[in-house]
Symmetry: C2
Protein backbone atom coordinates (compact mmCIF):
# COMPACT_ATOMS: atom_id res chain seq x y z
CA UNK A 1 0.00 0.00 0.00
CA UNK A 2 1.49 3.29 -1.01
CA UNK A 3 0.93 6.71 0.47
CA UNK A 4 1.01 9.22 -2.38
CA UNK A 5 1.24 12.95 -1.70
CA UNK A 6 1.22 14.93 -4.92
CA UNK A 7 3.37 18.00 -4.45
CA UNK A 8 3.58 21.25 -6.37
CA UNK A 9 6.87 23.11 -6.01
CA UNK A 10 5.78 26.67 -6.69
CA UNK A 11 8.78 28.58 -7.89
CA UNK A 12 8.38 32.35 -7.95
CA UNK A 13 10.13 34.63 -10.38
CA UNK A 14 11.54 37.89 -9.06
CA UNK A 15 9.45 40.06 -6.76
CA UNK A 16 10.08 43.76 -7.22
CA UNK A 17 10.58 46.04 -4.26
CA UNK A 18 7.56 48.01 -5.43
CA UNK A 19 5.31 44.94 -5.62
CA UNK A 20 2.66 44.78 -2.90
CA UNK A 21 1.89 41.70 -0.85
CA UNK A 22 -1.55 41.61 -2.42
CA UNK A 23 0.05 41.38 -5.86
CA UNK A 24 2.34 38.57 -4.78
CA UNK A 25 -0.55 36.70 -3.19
CA UNK A 26 -2.34 36.92 -6.53
CA UNK A 27 0.61 35.14 -8.15
CA UNK A 28 0.55 32.52 -5.42
CA UNK A 29 -3.18 31.97 -5.86
CA UNK A 30 -2.57 31.38 -9.57
CA UNK A 31 -0.09 28.66 -8.51
CA UNK A 32 -2.74 27.13 -6.23
CA UNK A 33 -5.24 26.88 -9.07
CA UNK A 34 -2.70 25.31 -11.42
CA UNK A 35 -1.72 22.90 -8.67
CA UNK A 36 -5.33 21.91 -8.10
CA UNK A 37 -5.77 21.24 -11.82
CA UNK A 38 -2.72 18.99 -11.70
CA UNK A 39 -3.95 16.94 -8.78
CA UNK A 40 -1.76 18.34 -6.03
CA UNK A 41 -2.30 17.85 -2.31
CA UNK A 42 0.40 20.26 -1.18
CA UNK A 43 1.97 23.43 -2.62
CA UNK A 44 5.37 24.64 -1.43
CA UNK A 45 6.35 28.31 -1.78
CA UNK A 46 9.86 29.81 -1.42
CA UNK A 47 11.58 31.45 1.53
CA UNK A 48 10.39 35.00 2.31
CA UNK A 49 7.81 34.54 -0.42
CA UNK A 50 5.72 37.65 0.21
CA UNK A 51 8.26 40.34 -0.59
CA UNK A 52 11.49 40.97 -2.40
CA UNK A 53 14.56 39.51 -0.65
CA UNK A 54 15.16 42.57 1.54
CA UNK A 55 18.36 41.44 3.36
CA UNK A 56 20.24 42.53 0.24
CA UNK A 57 19.95 46.13 1.46
CA UNK A 58 21.35 47.81 4.53
CA UNK A 59 18.63 49.73 6.32
CA UNK A 60 19.34 51.81 9.41
CA UNK A 61 15.78 52.51 10.53
CA UNK A 62 14.02 49.64 12.28
CA UNK A 63 10.69 50.85 10.94
CA UNK A 64 11.85 50.33 7.36
CA UNK A 65 13.06 46.83 8.20
CA UNK A 66 9.90 45.91 10.05
CA UNK A 67 7.80 46.86 7.02
CA UNK A 68 8.95 43.58 5.43
CA UNK A 69 7.69 41.51 8.37
CA UNK A 70 4.30 39.95 9.12
CA UNK A 71 2.75 40.69 12.52
CA UNK A 72 -0.02 38.17 12.08
CA UNK A 73 -0.49 35.06 9.98
CA UNK A 74 -2.79 35.08 8.23
CA UNK A 75 -3.11 38.86 8.08
CA UNK A 76 -5.23 41.01 5.80
CA UNK A 77 -2.98 40.48 2.78
CA UNK A 78 -2.45 36.74 3.26
CA UNK A 79 -6.01 35.82 4.23
CA UNK A 80 -7.00 35.37 0.56
CA UNK A 81 -4.23 32.77 0.16
CA UNK A 82 -5.48 30.79 3.14
CA UNK A 83 -9.08 31.07 1.95
CA UNK A 84 -8.35 29.94 -1.58
CA UNK A 85 -6.20 27.02 -0.44
CA UNK A 86 -8.93 25.89 1.92
CA UNK A 87 -11.56 26.24 -0.78
CA UNK A 88 -9.44 24.12 -3.13
CA UNK A 89 -8.57 21.60 -0.42
CA UNK A 90 -4.82 22.22 -0.71
CA UNK A 91 -2.22 22.17 2.02
CA UNK A 92 0.66 24.62 1.61
CA UNK A 93 4.01 25.64 3.01
CA UNK A 94 4.84 29.34 3.13
CA UNK A 95 8.03 31.21 4.00
CA UNK A 96 7.77 34.72 5.46
CA UNK A 97 9.44 37.19 7.80
CA UNK A 98 7.85 36.87 11.24
CA UNK A 99 7.66 39.69 13.79
CA UNK A 100 6.36 38.54 17.14
CA UNK A 101 6.26 39.41 20.81
CA UNK A 102 7.83 36.58 22.76
CA UNK A 103 9.45 36.43 26.18
CA UNK A 104 8.57 40.07 26.70
CA UNK A 105 10.33 41.49 23.66
CA UNK A 106 9.97 41.99 19.94
CA UNK A 107 11.57 39.24 17.92
CA UNK A 108 12.31 38.70 14.25
CA UNK A 109 12.52 35.29 12.61
CA UNK A 110 12.84 33.88 9.10
CA UNK A 111 9.92 31.48 9.30
CA UNK A 112 8.05 28.77 7.41
CA UNK A 113 4.67 27.32 8.23
CA UNK A 114 2.81 24.23 7.13
CA UNK A 115 -0.93 24.74 6.64
CA UNK A 116 -3.20 21.73 6.24
CA UNK A 117 -6.08 21.28 3.82
CA UNK A 118 -8.50 22.70 6.39
CA UNK A 119 -6.53 25.94 6.58
CA UNK A 120 -5.03 25.26 10.01
CA UNK A 121 -1.38 26.03 10.74
CA UNK A 122 -0.07 22.63 11.83
CA UNK A 123 3.66 23.32 11.86
CA UNK A 124 6.09 26.18 12.25
CA UNK A 125 9.85 26.34 11.71
CA UNK A 126 12.22 29.26 12.30
CA UNK A 127 15.45 29.34 10.27
CA UNK A 128 18.49 28.21 12.27
CA UNK A 129 21.43 28.57 9.89
CA UNK A 130 21.38 32.29 9.13
CA UNK A 131 23.94 33.06 6.43
CA UNK A 132 25.65 36.30 5.60
CA UNK A 133 26.77 39.02 7.97
CA UNK A 134 25.52 41.41 10.64
CA UNK A 135 27.30 44.65 9.75
CA UNK A 136 27.04 46.82 6.67
CA UNK A 137 29.80 45.85 4.20
CA UNK A 138 29.74 48.52 1.49
CA UNK A 139 32.39 46.74 -0.61
CA UNK A 140 29.82 44.09 -1.57
CA UNK A 141 27.81 44.49 -4.77
CA UNK A 142 24.83 43.73 -2.52
CA UNK A 143 24.38 42.87 1.14
CA UNK A 144 23.31 39.62 2.78
CA UNK A 145 22.24 40.89 6.20
CA UNK A 146 20.30 37.92 7.53
CA UNK A 147 22.47 37.84 10.64
CA UNK A 148 21.40 41.47 11.29
CA UNK A 149 17.69 41.30 10.58
CA UNK A 150 16.83 37.89 12.07
CA UNK A 151 17.43 35.98 15.26
CA UNK A 152 18.50 32.33 15.13
CA UNK A 153 15.44 30.10 15.14
CA UNK A 154 14.38 28.76 18.52
CA UNK A 155 12.18 25.81 17.58
CA UNK A 156 14.81 23.23 16.65
CA UNK A 157 14.07 21.07 13.61
CA UNK A 158 10.63 19.69 14.47
CA UNK A 159 8.60 17.29 12.38
CA UNK A 160 4.84 17.31 12.01
CA UNK A 161 2.18 14.75 11.25
CA UNK A 162 0.10 15.92 8.29
CA UNK A 163 -1.42 14.56 5.06
CA UNK A 164 -0.91 11.04 6.35
CA UNK A 165 2.85 11.50 6.63
CA UNK A 166 5.64 13.14 8.57
CA UNK A 167 6.90 16.51 7.37
CA UNK A 168 9.83 18.73 8.29
CA UNK A 169 10.87 22.18 7.12
CA UNK A 170 14.08 24.08 6.73
CA UNK A 171 15.03 27.25 4.91
CA UNK A 172 17.66 28.15 2.31
CA UNK A 173 21.14 27.97 3.89
CA UNK A 174 19.91 25.23 6.27
CA UNK A 175 20.00 22.89 3.29
CA UNK A 176 23.80 23.03 3.04
CA UNK A 177 24.25 21.57 6.53
CA UNK A 178 23.91 17.79 6.92
CA UNK A 179 22.91 18.25 10.55
CA UNK A 180 19.64 19.84 9.36
CA UNK A 181 18.44 16.74 7.55
CA UNK A 182 19.87 14.34 10.13
CA UNK A 183 18.00 15.83 13.09
CA UNK A 184 14.78 15.43 11.10
CA UNK A 185 15.86 12.02 9.81
CA UNK A 186 16.21 10.86 13.39
CA UNK A 187 12.53 11.75 13.79
CA UNK A 188 11.66 9.62 10.75
CA UNK A 189 10.87 12.55 8.52
CA UNK A 190 9.35 11.54 5.16
CA UNK A 191 9.36 14.86 3.33
CA UNK A 192 11.42 18.01 3.92
CA UNK A 193 9.95 21.26 2.56
CA UNK A 194 12.36 24.08 1.94
CA UNK A 195 12.40 27.39 0.15
CA UNK A 196 15.43 29.43 -0.81
CA UNK A 197 16.71 32.72 -2.23
CA UNK A 198 20.22 32.03 -3.54
CA UNK A 199 22.06 34.64 -5.59
CA UNK A 200 24.37 33.43 -8.34
CA UNK A 201 27.05 35.73 -6.97
CA UNK A 202 28.53 35.26 -3.50
CA UNK A 203 30.69 38.33 -2.82
CA UNK A 204 33.12 36.69 -0.36
CA UNK A 205 33.97 33.80 -2.74
CA UNK A 206 33.11 34.82 -6.30
CA UNK A 207 35.42 32.15 -7.73
CA UNK A 208 32.74 29.60 -6.87
CA UNK A 209 29.82 31.41 -8.52
CA UNK A 210 29.89 28.93 -11.40
CA UNK A 211 29.03 26.13 -8.94
CA UNK A 212 25.77 27.39 -7.45
CA UNK A 213 23.60 24.92 -9.32
CA UNK A 214 25.87 21.97 -8.58
CA UNK A 215 25.97 22.72 -4.85
CA UNK A 216 22.23 23.29 -4.65
CA UNK A 217 21.48 19.91 -6.16
CA UNK A 218 24.31 18.14 -4.35
CA UNK A 219 23.29 19.08 -0.83
CA UNK A 220 19.59 18.43 -1.35
CA UNK A 221 20.15 15.07 -3.04
CA UNK A 222 22.59 14.00 -0.33
CA UNK A 223 20.20 15.07 2.43
CA UNK A 224 17.38 13.12 0.76
CA UNK A 225 19.37 9.93 0.19
CA UNK A 226 21.19 9.89 3.53
CA UNK A 227 17.92 10.25 5.42
CA UNK A 228 15.64 8.33 3.05
CA UNK A 229 13.31 11.30 2.72
CA UNK A 230 11.73 13.36 -0.04
CA UNK A 231 13.11 16.88 -0.35
CA UNK A 232 11.15 19.67 -2.03
CA UNK A 233 13.41 22.65 -2.79
CA UNK A 234 11.65 25.77 -4.05
CA UNK A 235 13.47 28.82 -5.35
CA UNK A 236 12.79 32.46 -5.79
CA UNK A 237 14.34 32.75 -9.24
CA UNK A 238 15.33 35.24 -11.88
CA UNK A 239 16.84 38.68 -11.69
CA UNK A 240 15.38 40.39 -8.63
CA UNK A 241 16.27 44.06 -8.25
CA UNK A 242 19.48 43.55 -10.20
CA UNK A 243 20.53 40.37 -8.40
CA UNK A 244 20.32 37.15 -10.47
CA UNK A 245 19.35 34.06 -8.49
CA UNK A 246 20.12 30.41 -9.23
CA UNK A 247 16.57 29.06 -9.47
CA UNK A 248 16.63 25.29 -9.85
CA UNK A 249 13.41 24.40 -8.01
CA UNK A 250 13.27 20.61 -7.74
CA UNK A 251 11.62 17.63 -6.11
CA UNK A 252 14.04 14.93 -4.96
CA UNK A 253 13.17 11.33 -4.11
CA UNK A 254 14.60 9.29 -1.20
CA UNK A 255 16.76 7.60 -3.84
CA UNK A 256 18.64 10.90 -4.18
CA UNK A 257 17.23 11.40 -7.67
CA UNK A 258 15.70 14.65 -8.87
CA UNK A 259 12.31 13.65 -10.25
CA UNK A 260 10.98 17.07 -11.30
CA UNK A 261 12.81 20.31 -11.97
CA UNK A 262 12.02 23.85 -13.12
CA UNK A 263 13.42 25.02 -16.42
CA UNK A 264 12.61 28.74 -16.24
CA UNK A 265 13.52 31.57 -13.89
CA UNK A 266 9.89 32.71 -13.62
CA UNK A 267 6.75 31.63 -11.78
CA UNK A 268 6.67 27.92 -12.59
CA UNK A 269 4.98 24.96 -10.94
CA UNK A 270 6.69 21.57 -11.05
CA UNK A 271 4.85 18.59 -9.64
CA UNK A 272 5.47 15.00 -8.66
CA UNK A 273 3.41 12.23 -7.13
CA UNK A 274 5.50 11.32 -4.11
CA UNK A 275 5.14 7.93 -2.47
CA UNK A 276 5.99 8.50 1.19
CA UNK A 277 6.78 4.80 1.53
CA UNK A 278 9.57 4.99 -1.06
CA UNK A 279 12.18 5.56 1.63
CA UNK A 280 11.29 2.43 3.58
CA UNK A 281 13.68 0.08 1.79
CA UNK A 282 16.55 2.41 2.68
CA UNK A 283 15.35 2.84 6.26
CA UNK A 284 15.31 -0.95 6.59
CA UNK A 285 18.68 -1.64 4.93
CA UNK A 286 21.67 0.66 4.38
CA UNK A 287 20.14 3.46 6.48
CA UNK A 288 18.66 1.41 9.29
CA UNK A 289 19.92 3.93 11.83
CA UNK A 290 19.29 1.73 14.87
CA UNK A 291 21.57 -0.95 13.44
CA UNK A 292 24.25 1.10 11.77
CA UNK A 293 24.78 4.51 13.39
CA UNK A 294 27.62 4.84 15.93
CA UNK A 295 26.84 8.03 17.89
CA UNK A 296 29.53 7.35 20.49
CA UNK A 297 31.96 8.56 17.82
CA UNK A 298 30.00 11.70 16.80
CA UNK A 299 30.64 13.76 19.93
CA UNK A 300 32.50 16.62 18.26
CA UNK A 301 29.42 17.48 16.23
CA UNK A 302 27.68 18.86 19.29
CA UNK A 303 30.64 19.59 21.54
CA UNK A 304 32.12 22.33 19.39
CA UNK A 305 30.81 25.04 17.11
CA UNK A 306 34.00 25.80 15.24
CA UNK A 307 36.96 23.53 14.49
CA UNK A 308 39.08 22.18 17.31
CA UNK A 309 42.81 21.87 17.24
CA UNK A 310 42.91 18.53 19.04
CA UNK A 311 40.52 15.62 18.83
CA UNK A 312 39.78 15.85 22.53
CA UNK A 313 36.22 14.65 22.08
CA UNK A 314 37.28 11.08 21.60
CA UNK A 315 39.54 9.66 24.26
CA UNK A 316 39.72 6.15 22.83
CA UNK A 317 43.08 4.46 23.29
CA UNK A 318 45.31 4.69 20.29
CA UNK A 319 44.08 8.09 19.24
CA UNK A 320 46.90 10.07 17.72
CA UNK A 321 45.32 13.42 16.95
CA UNK A 322 47.10 15.54 16.20
CA UNK A 323 50.20 13.54 15.42
CA UNK A 324 53.45 15.43 15.29
CA UNK A 325 54.04 16.90 11.87
CA UNK A 326 56.44 14.77 9.89
CA UNK B 1 51.28 30.05 -1.79
CA UNK B 2 49.73 26.73 -2.59
CA UNK B 3 50.37 23.37 -0.99
CA UNK B 4 50.16 20.74 -3.72
CA UNK B 5 49.96 17.05 -2.88
CA UNK B 6 49.85 14.93 -6.00
CA UNK B 7 47.72 11.89 -5.30
CA UNK B 8 47.42 8.56 -7.07
CA UNK B 9 44.15 6.73 -6.50
CA UNK B 10 45.23 3.14 -7.06
CA UNK B 11 42.16 1.18 -8.05
CA UNK B 12 42.56 -2.59 -7.96
CA UNK B 13 40.68 -4.96 -10.21
CA UNK B 14 39.35 -8.16 -8.69
CA UNK B 15 41.53 -10.23 -6.38
CA UNK B 16 40.89 -13.95 -6.66
CA UNK B 17 40.52 -16.11 -3.58
CA UNK B 18 43.48 -18.12 -4.81
CA UNK B 19 45.71 -15.06 -5.23
CA UNK B 20 48.49 -14.79 -2.66
CA UNK B 21 49.34 -11.62 -0.76
CA UNK B 22 52.72 -11.62 -2.51
CA UNK B 23 50.96 -11.53 -5.87
CA UNK B 24 48.73 -8.67 -4.80
CA UNK B 25 51.68 -6.74 -3.43
CA UNK B 26 53.32 -7.12 -6.84
CA UNK B 27 50.31 -5.39 -8.39
CA UNK B 28 50.50 -2.66 -5.78
CA UNK B 29 54.19 -2.13 -6.42
CA UNK B 30 53.41 -1.71 -10.11
CA UNK B 31 50.99 1.06 -9.06
CA UNK B 32 53.74 2.68 -6.98
CA UNK B 33 56.10 2.80 -9.93
CA UNK B 34 53.46 4.28 -12.24
CA UNK B 35 52.61 6.80 -9.54
CA UNK B 36 56.23 7.82 -9.19
CA UNK B 37 56.52 8.32 -12.94
CA UNK B 38 53.46 10.57 -12.78
CA UNK B 39 54.84 12.73 -10.02
CA UNK B 40 52.78 11.47 -7.10
CA UNK B 41 53.49 12.12 -3.44
CA UNK B 42 50.83 9.77 -2.08
CA UNK B 43 49.21 6.54 -3.31
CA UNK B 44 45.85 5.39 -1.92
CA UNK B 45 44.86 1.72 -2.07
CA UNK B 46 41.38 0.23 -1.49
CA UNK B 47 39.78 -1.27 1.61
CA UNK B 48 41.01 -4.79 2.48
CA UNK B 49 43.45 -4.46 -0.37
CA UNK B 50 45.58 -7.54 0.30
CA UNK B 51 43.00 -10.26 -0.29
CA UNK B 52 39.69 -10.96 -1.90
CA UNK B 53 36.70 -9.42 -0.09
CA UNK B 54 36.19 -12.38 2.25
CA UNK B 55 33.07 -11.17 4.16
CA UNK B 56 31.07 -12.38 1.18
CA UNK B 57 31.41 -15.92 2.54
CA UNK B 58 30.15 -17.47 5.73
CA UNK B 59 32.94 -19.32 7.48
CA UNK B 60 32.38 -21.27 10.68
CA UNK B 61 35.98 -21.91 11.67
CA UNK B 62 37.82 -18.98 13.19
CA UNK B 63 41.08 -20.26 11.76
CA UNK B 64 39.76 -19.88 8.22
CA UNK B 65 38.61 -16.36 8.97
CA UNK B 66 41.84 -15.36 10.63
CA UNK B 67 43.79 -16.44 7.57
CA UNK B 68 42.57 -13.23 5.89
CA UNK B 69 43.98 -11.05 8.68
CA UNK B 70 47.40 -9.46 9.20
CA UNK B 71 49.09 -10.04 12.55
CA UNK B 72 51.83 -7.55 11.89
CA UNK B 73 52.21 -4.53 9.65
CA UNK B 74 54.44 -4.65 7.80
CA UNK B 75 54.75 -8.44 7.80
CA UNK B 76 56.77 -10.67 5.51
CA UNK B 77 54.36 -10.26 2.58
CA UNK B 78 53.87 -6.51 2.92
CA UNK B 79 57.47 -5.55 3.70
CA UNK B 80 58.29 -5.26 -0.04
CA UNK B 81 55.52 -2.68 -0.43
CA UNK B 82 56.90 -0.58 2.41
CA UNK B 83 60.44 -0.92 1.08
CA UNK B 84 59.56 0.07 -2.47
CA UNK B 85 57.45 3.03 -1.36
CA UNK B 86 60.29 4.28 0.83
CA UNK B 87 62.80 3.79 -1.97
CA UNK B 88 60.57 5.80 -4.32
CA UNK B 89 59.82 8.42 -1.68
CA UNK B 90 56.07 7.82 -1.77
CA UNK B 91 53.59 8.00 1.07
CA UNK B 92 50.70 5.53 0.90
CA UNK B 93 47.41 4.59 2.49
CA UNK B 94 46.59 0.90 2.80
CA UNK B 95 43.44 -0.93 3.90
CA UNK B 96 43.75 -4.37 5.49
CA UNK B 97 42.20 -6.75 8.01
CA UNK B 98 43.94 -6.27 11.36
CA UNK B 99 44.24 -8.99 14.01
CA UNK B 100 45.67 -7.71 17.25
CA UNK B 101 45.92 -8.42 20.95
CA UNK B 102 44.45 -5.51 22.86
CA UNK B 103 42.98 -5.20 26.33
CA UNK B 104 43.86 -8.82 26.97
CA UNK B 105 42.00 -10.38 24.06
CA UNK B 106 42.19 -11.02 20.35
CA UNK B 107 40.53 -8.37 18.30
CA UNK B 108 39.63 -7.98 14.62
CA UNK B 109 39.35 -4.65 12.86
CA UNK B 110 38.87 -3.39 9.31
CA UNK B 111 41.80 -0.98 9.29
CA UNK B 112 43.56 1.64 7.19
CA UNK B 113 46.99 3.12 7.80
CA UNK B 114 48.81 6.16 6.49
CA UNK B 115 52.51 5.61 5.85
CA UNK B 116 54.75 8.62 5.22
CA UNK B 117 57.52 8.96 2.66
CA UNK B 118 60.05 7.65 5.18
CA UNK B 119 58.10 4.42 5.60
CA UNK B 120 56.75 5.26 9.06
CA UNK B 121 53.15 4.51 9.97
CA UNK B 122 51.88 7.96 10.98
CA UNK B 123 48.16 7.29 11.21
CA UNK B 124 45.73 4.45 11.83
CA UNK B 125 41.96 4.26 11.45
CA UNK B 126 39.61 1.37 12.28
CA UNK B 127 36.31 1.21 10.41
CA UNK B 128 33.37 2.44 12.48
CA UNK B 129 30.31 1.98 10.26
CA UNK B 130 30.32 -1.77 9.65
CA UNK B 131 27.64 -2.66 7.11
CA UNK B 132 25.90 -5.94 6.51
CA UNK B 133 24.90 -8.54 9.04
CA UNK B 134 26.27 -10.83 11.75
CA UNK B 135 24.45 -14.09 11.08
CA UNK B 136 24.56 -16.39 8.09
CA UNK B 137 21.70 -15.52 5.72
CA UNK B 138 21.63 -18.30 3.12
CA UNK B 139 18.89 -16.60 1.07
CA UNK B 140 21.40 -14.02 -0.11
CA UNK B 141 23.27 -14.54 -3.38
CA UNK B 142 26.35 -13.71 -1.32
CA UNK B 143 26.96 -12.68 2.28
CA UNK B 144 28.11 -9.38 3.71
CA UNK B 145 29.34 -10.49 7.14
CA UNK B 146 31.34 -7.47 8.26
CA UNK B 147 29.32 -7.27 11.46
CA UNK B 148 30.41 -10.85 12.21
CA UNK B 149 34.08 -10.73 11.33
CA UNK B 150 35.01 -7.26 12.62
CA UNK B 151 34.54 -5.20 15.74
CA UNK B 152 33.48 -1.56 15.52
CA UNK B 153 36.54 0.66 15.30
CA UNK B 154 37.73 2.13 18.56
CA UNK B 155 39.89 5.04 17.40
CA UNK B 156 37.23 7.58 16.47
CA UNK B 157 37.84 9.62 13.30
CA UNK B 158 41.29 11.04 13.97
CA UNK B 159 43.24 13.34 11.69
CA UNK B 160 46.98 13.29 11.15
CA UNK B 161 49.59 15.82 10.16
CA UNK B 162 51.55 14.52 7.17
CA UNK B 163 52.91 15.72 3.83
CA UNK B 164 52.46 19.31 4.98
CA UNK B 165 48.72 18.87 5.43
CA UNK B 166 46.03 17.31 7.58
CA UNK B 167 44.71 13.89 6.58
CA UNK B 168 41.83 11.72 7.71
CA UNK B 169 40.75 8.23 6.75
CA UNK B 170 37.51 6.32 6.58
CA UNK B 171 36.49 3.07 4.95
CA UNK B 172 33.74 2.07 2.51
CA UNK B 173 30.35 2.33 4.24
CA UNK B 174 31.68 5.15 6.43
CA UNK B 175 31.45 7.37 3.35
CA UNK B 176 27.64 7.22 3.29
CA UNK B 177 27.35 8.85 6.75
CA UNK B 178 27.71 12.62 6.93
CA UNK B 179 28.87 12.31 10.54
CA UNK B 180 32.08 10.68 9.27
CA UNK B 181 33.20 13.69 7.28
CA UNK B 182 31.88 16.20 9.81
CA UNK B 183 33.89 14.84 12.75
CA UNK B 184 37.00 15.14 10.61
CA UNK B 185 35.88 18.50 9.22
CA UNK B 186 35.68 19.82 12.76
CA UNK B 187 39.37 18.94 13.04
CA UNK B 188 40.11 20.94 9.87
CA UNK B 189 40.80 17.91 7.73
CA UNK B 190 42.16 18.78 4.28
CA UNK B 191 42.08 15.37 2.59
CA UNK B 192 40.05 12.26 3.40
CA UNK B 193 41.46 8.96 2.12
CA UNK B 194 39.02 6.10 1.73
CA UNK B 195 38.91 2.72 0.09
CA UNK B 196 35.84 0.64 -0.64
CA UNK B 197 34.49 -2.71 -1.86
CA UNK B 198 30.94 -2.07 -3.05
CA UNK B 199 29.00 -4.75 -4.90
CA UNK B 200 26.55 -3.66 -7.58
CA UNK B 201 23.93 -5.90 -6.00
CA UNK B 202 22.63 -5.28 -2.49
CA UNK B 203 20.49 -8.32 -1.59
CA UNK B 204 18.17 -6.55 0.92
CA UNK B 205 17.22 -3.77 -1.53
CA UNK B 206 17.91 -4.95 -5.11
CA UNK B 207 15.54 -2.34 -6.54
CA UNK B 208 18.25 0.24 -5.92
CA UNK B 209 21.10 -1.65 -7.61
CA UNK B 210 20.90 0.69 -10.60
CA UNK B 211 21.88 3.60 -8.30
CA UNK B 212 25.20 2.41 -6.91
CA UNK B 213 27.29 4.80 -8.97
CA UNK B 214 25.04 7.78 -8.25
CA UNK B 215 25.11 7.18 -4.51
CA UNK B 216 28.86 6.62 -4.45
CA UNK B 217 29.55 9.93 -6.13
CA UNK B 218 26.80 11.78 -4.27
CA UNK B 219 27.98 11.01 -0.75
CA UNK B 220 31.65 11.61 -1.48
CA UNK B 221 31.02 14.89 -3.29
CA UNK B 222 28.69 16.09 -0.52
CA UNK B 223 31.21 15.14 2.18
CA UNK B 224 33.94 17.02 0.31
CA UNK B 225 31.93 20.18 -0.32
CA UNK B 226 30.27 20.36 3.09
CA UNK B 227 33.62 20.09 4.85
CA UNK B 228 35.77 21.89 2.30
CA UNK B 229 38.10 18.91 1.99
CA UNK B 230 39.58 16.73 -0.73
CA UNK B 231 38.18 13.20 -0.83
CA UNK B 232 40.05 10.33 -2.47
CA UNK B 233 37.77 7.33 -3.00
CA UNK B 234 39.47 4.16 -4.21
CA UNK B 235 37.59 1.06 -5.31
CA UNK B 236 38.25 -2.59 -5.60
CA UNK B 237 36.54 -3.02 -8.98
CA UNK B 238 35.43 -5.63 -11.46
CA UNK B 239 33.93 -9.06 -11.04
CA UNK B 240 35.52 -10.63 -7.98
CA UNK B 241 34.66 -14.27 -7.39
CA UNK B 242 31.36 -13.85 -9.21
CA UNK B 243 30.39 -10.59 -7.52
CA UNK B 244 30.52 -7.47 -9.73
CA UNK B 245 31.56 -4.30 -7.94
CA UNK B 246 30.76 -0.69 -8.81
CA UNK B 247 34.30 0.65 -9.25
CA UNK B 248 34.23 4.41 -9.79
CA UNK B 249 37.53 5.36 -8.14
CA UNK B 250 37.69 9.16 -8.04
CA UNK B 251 39.40 12.21 -6.61
CA UNK B 252 37.03 14.96 -5.47
CA UNK B 253 37.94 18.58 -4.81
CA UNK B 254 36.64 20.74 -1.93
CA UNK B 255 34.36 22.32 -4.55
CA UNK B 256 32.47 19.01 -4.66
CA UNK B 257 33.72 18.36 -8.19
CA UNK B 258 35.19 15.07 -9.30
CA UNK B 259 38.52 16.01 -10.88
CA UNK B 260 39.81 12.54 -11.85
CA UNK B 261 37.96 9.26 -12.29
CA UNK B 262 38.69 5.70 -13.33
CA UNK B 263 37.13 4.38 -16.51
CA UNK B 264 37.95 0.67 -16.19
CA UNK B 265 37.17 -2.05 -13.69
CA UNK B 266 40.79 -3.19 -13.54
CA UNK B 267 44.01 -2.03 -11.88
CA UNK B 268 44.05 1.65 -12.85
CA UNK B 269 45.80 4.66 -11.42
CA UNK B 270 44.11 8.05 -11.60
CA UNK B 271 46.00 11.08 -10.40
CA UNK B 272 45.43 14.71 -9.54
CA UNK B 273 47.56 17.54 -8.22
CA UNK B 274 45.58 18.58 -5.15
CA UNK B 275 46.04 22.05 -3.69
CA UNK B 276 45.35 21.63 0.03
CA UNK B 277 44.56 25.34 0.23
CA UNK B 278 41.66 25.05 -2.21
CA UNK B 279 39.17 24.59 0.62
CA UNK B 280 40.15 27.81 2.39
CA UNK B 281 37.68 30.09 0.61
CA UNK B 282 34.86 27.78 1.72
CA UNK B 283 36.21 27.52 5.27
CA UNK B 284 36.26 31.33 5.42
CA UNK B 285 32.83 31.94 3.89
CA UNK B 286 29.83 29.63 3.56
CA UNK B 287 31.43 26.92 5.72
CA UNK B 288 33.04 29.08 8.38
CA UNK B 289 31.90 26.68 11.07
CA UNK B 290 32.66 28.99 13.99
CA UNK B 291 30.31 31.62 12.56
CA UNK B 292 27.56 29.50 11.10
CA UNK B 293 27.10 26.17 12.88
CA UNK B 294 24.39 25.95 15.56
CA UNK B 295 25.25 22.85 17.60
CA UNK B 296 22.68 23.64 20.30
CA UNK B 297 20.14 22.31 17.79
CA UNK B 298 22.06 19.14 16.83
CA UNK B 299 21.55 17.20 20.06
CA UNK B 300 19.62 14.28 18.61
CA UNK B 301 22.62 13.34 16.47
CA UNK B 302 24.48 12.08 19.51
CA UNK B 303 21.63 11.45 21.92
CA UNK B 304 20.07 8.63 19.95
CA UNK B 305 21.29 5.82 17.72
CA UNK B 306 18.01 4.98 16.03
CA UNK B 307 15.02 7.22 15.33
CA UNK B 308 13.03 8.69 18.19
CA UNK B 309 9.30 8.99 18.29
CA UNK B 310 9.30 12.41 19.95
CA UNK B 311 11.71 15.27 19.49
CA UNK B 312 12.60 15.22 23.17
CA UNK B 313 16.13 16.40 22.53
CA UNK B 314 15.05 19.95 21.92
CA UNK B 315 12.93 21.50 24.62
CA UNK B 316 12.65 24.96 23.04
CA UNK B 317 9.31 26.66 23.59
CA UNK B 318 6.95 26.29 20.69
CA UNK B 319 8.14 22.85 19.73
CA UNK B 320 5.27 20.80 18.43
CA UNK B 321 6.81 17.41 17.75
CA UNK B 322 5.01 15.26 17.16
CA UNK B 323 1.88 17.21 16.44
CA UNK B 324 -1.39 15.34 16.57
CA UNK B 325 -2.18 13.73 13.26
CA UNK B 326 -4.64 15.85 11.30
Amino acid sequence: MSRIVTVGAAQLGPIALAESRAQVVERMIAHLRTAKARGCDLVVFPELALTTFFPRWFMAEQEKIDAFFEREMPGPDTRPLFDEAKRLGLAFCLGYAELTEEAGRTRHFNTAILVDKQGEIVGKYRKIHLPGHAEHEPWRAFQHLEKRYFETGNLGFPVFEALGGRFGMCICNDRRWPETYRVMGLQNVEMVLLGYNTPVHNPPAPEHDRLGWHHNQLVMQAGAYQNATWVVGVAKAGNEEGVPMIGGTQIIAPTGETVAIAVTDQDELVTAACDLDLGLTFKRSVFDFARHREPQHYGLIVETKGPVETGAADAQPGRRTPAAAK
